[in-house]
Amino acid sequence: MIPPHEFRLSHFQAMVIFALVVSVAFGFLSRRGSYQRARYILWSFILFLLIGVGIGWAMYPFSH
């Protein structure tokens, strides 16, 4: 039997992990060469975070 492990993450932590993992996978699948990959990973990671936070702020007025 595998012991249960529970992770408790905040919304922001979950978003950062999601953005990082997906960016790394996209970077490795779509680019060749370390420099190109690093650039793509960094760029898509930043965009994921900025767009996520942006959408969060855009929805803020509707929650009040």
């Binding site: 249960p4 408790r8 979950a14 790394v24 996978a25 490795f28 699948l29 060469g33």
Partner: protein, 155 residues
Amino acid sequence: MPDEVPISETSGAAVPVAQSSSPYVAPAGDHRRGDALALTIAAAAWFLPGLGHALLKMWGRALVCFSTVALLVILGAGMRGNIFSRSGEDAFAKLGYVADLGVGSFYFVARALETNGPDVSHANGDYGTRLLATAGVLNMLAALHAYEVTRARKA
């Protein structure tokens, strides 16, 4: 990275390399063999994340596919996300099942890890459901990439 292998080397001698400028026209038998090989590689990539790229000797991509999908599955199951079953009652549950199936054999790993069952009454479980679906879709994308590489359409 060690996976910087030319396409013609990764795809094997039996697979025709699509080059518009080349006068070589592959016989129909070669195309069929290439299709069968590409489908086998894609099925392997779907069944065990990273296996398709490993068979193509793209070690970096294989390692990244395996570790990213594994991390998302472990996190998603650990956050008690919903692992959809075949008996979904609405379209979203059915779509979720398709996405979850995308992780291949890791679907059963996720089920084994989630001994306490899903808990989507809290936001944490909801995020876990998304991470599990992301793992499935990411693995399907990787399997499609391995298929395209074998067909020599992609670098």
